[in-house]
Symmetry: C3
Subunit: 259 residues, 3 copies
């Protein structure tokens, strides 16, 4: 009986211990009482504001003089979801995207973390942009499929705005999509699949040695008719998830797919 | 008795939990029924082919017009083993190495992942190159010694071909070797050891800020008489494994040493 | 009773398993009997020397002819602590800092590993510099506060020397400080806080896409009156630790804070 018991416990324990660490764990909402703190989100994302950026910092950050206030989005895991979320925020608020930087991160994963700066003349605008971004993350993590070996990410917008333009060179106002495959080899296949699936314009291609921060990803950026872009992305997703599955467990979406 | 039982169980559990994650876990062979899929290998390596690369992808990937088909090798863990394996594939098939890119990866380890593209006029050649590469991996992971703190990697070929030339600047047709130490400090020592151990030509040196993708490695590339190259590598290995052991457990080879 | 027992054991086990992996585990001192080996330290740091660097290695490492001997510090986790420690070593010994390279590392964390080379005419000087560096690490890891989501690092010296000058552009002989926030967003806030807290000179700013090796950090370098620099750093720390805590557990110092 003792052995049986041990076995049962071991089983329970290993189940708990081996639970696949999703690459983008849900942040438990915490607060810290600072006026600079706006909130947190999926992927170790934090949202912050500075009402009056100190002139010396303004200078070393090379910010435009006209922005007294900045909104800040930073994350360990993910750049695509945060940038797409920031794109919605720019549409919804009186702010501009000042910079988008990609760290080679994802907490040991194959991809990027990010640092996004919004500029605003008024702190309430900066704060609002950060709030919208954090809220949108729930959606934009919907088509991130991850397992222990890598991830597939799809993003889509019917009308790209300035965050997508800044980060990806997307034509503003047009339907835009991106697809990421990690490890990068899978990204090559899904790029080919996507282009063949519908009549879309290829506006960019990024790989470990060019266009990424040495992440293990191939990323394709597409634009065009909104139906075609979606069709492309869906074709890419199907192939990508299948291929990624050959290297590990069944890749599961981080939240709820939206494309 | 209860306490004893708990203790015993805790012991069992911790043993299981603390098992050193080897940095290059063996892939369990899986299949996915796609014609693009060739297979998987050690180090989360995946092998893929595209029979007819879409012209738009051809363009953004800057491929030579003459390659209708490409073979693709991608991995989360390892670049050396995959490149050396690809070198054998190039010798054995009617393909060329189009590009070798190093991602800063290894799933939280100190080294690289990779993306290797073979070009071929015929898809069967591309597929064959990928198959040979995947098969050779079993051997080329033989002199990768890893523990929790880093890794030592040795690679050797009696006759370097075009993958080694493309990736490492190796003189084609001559004996060639490389040695990697991670953390990088160990790489400096084994480089010095190797050069002193035999009369070899130093053809390159890579470090975190130059020649790597910011990996925590120092890599030395050597060429020369085949006996001398091997002697150098063996000297480097002995020292490297000893030094790496001071930072963690006994570094063990991923498969079976071949040098 | 069986269920109760299982529950109790599960609790124990999960406590053990979930213990936050500090990003800079203490190295257990090991020895390896090689003359090149000096010792190990926190953060998977290893200290090594080469008495007579081989001429071919000398050349590819681009070392100055006058240094026959080199001291080597390498680490998986941390660059700031090692560089600050090396700064003390340079003051205390007859050596020079030849190079400081930052790997994108920290074993899956958001920051850097490092490779630091000391040059000396005599091996005993090189060895002494490495010894001092390893010893100082205990102190310089004192204001590194880490949790699962990132880290806050503060460093301070009343009188910067050549390691700080080489790595950070610090004015030699003056009080110098740096603060790191990871994820990078937090670094922006603490930079602003620090500058507003006291009258200091901003001498540099590094972010994922500029000045770091694509790490997920924002780093601010400050100089000035020693009291002002310390006051700045303390203000930055308080804010940084609070913000980092919103993303995970309470960030704890790796050793004992010294600022």
């Amino acid at each position: 009986m003792k052995d049986q018991l041990i076995e049962k416990i071991m089983e329970e324990v290993m189940k708990k211990v081996e639970e696949p660490k999703t690459e983008a764990p849900k942040a438990t909402p915490k607060f810290c009482g600072m006026t600079e703190f706006v909130g947190t989100g999926i992927g170790d994302t934090i949202g912050l504001v500075i009402a009056n950026v100190d002139p010396s910092l303004h200078e070393v950050m090379k910010l435009d003089k006209k922005y007294r206030s900045i909104g800040i989005i930073g994350a360990r895991t993910g750049a695509g979801p945060q940038i797409m979320a920031a794109d919605e925020a720019v549409k919804a608020t009186n702010t501009e995207i000042i910079s988008v930087e990609l760290a080679r991160d994802t907490k040991g994963g194959a991809g990027h973390g990010c640092l996004i700066i919004f500029g605003a003349e008024d702190v309430s605008d900066a704060r609002r942009a950060v709030e919208v971004t954090l809220k949108e993350l729930e959606r934009t993590f919907g088509d991130v499929y991850a397992n222990d070996a890598g991830h597939i990410e799809l993003q889509y917008t019917a009308r790209a705005s300035y965050a997508c333009e800044k980060a990806f060179g997307a034509p503003v106002g047009k339907a835009f999509g991106l697809m990421v495959g990690a490890p990068a080899a899978i990204g090559v296949i899904i790029a080919d699949t996507a282009i063949k699936a519908a009549n879309v314009d290829v506006i960019g291609y990024a790989s470990p040695a060019g266009g990424t921060s040495y992440s293990n990803e191939v990323i394709l950026f597409i634009s065009g008719d909104s139906g075609a872009v979606r069709q492309s992305l869906i074709a890419a997703k199907e192939v990508g998830v299948k291929l990624l599955g050959t290297l590990g467990g069944e890749p599961a979406p981080v939240t709820v797919p939206y494309i």
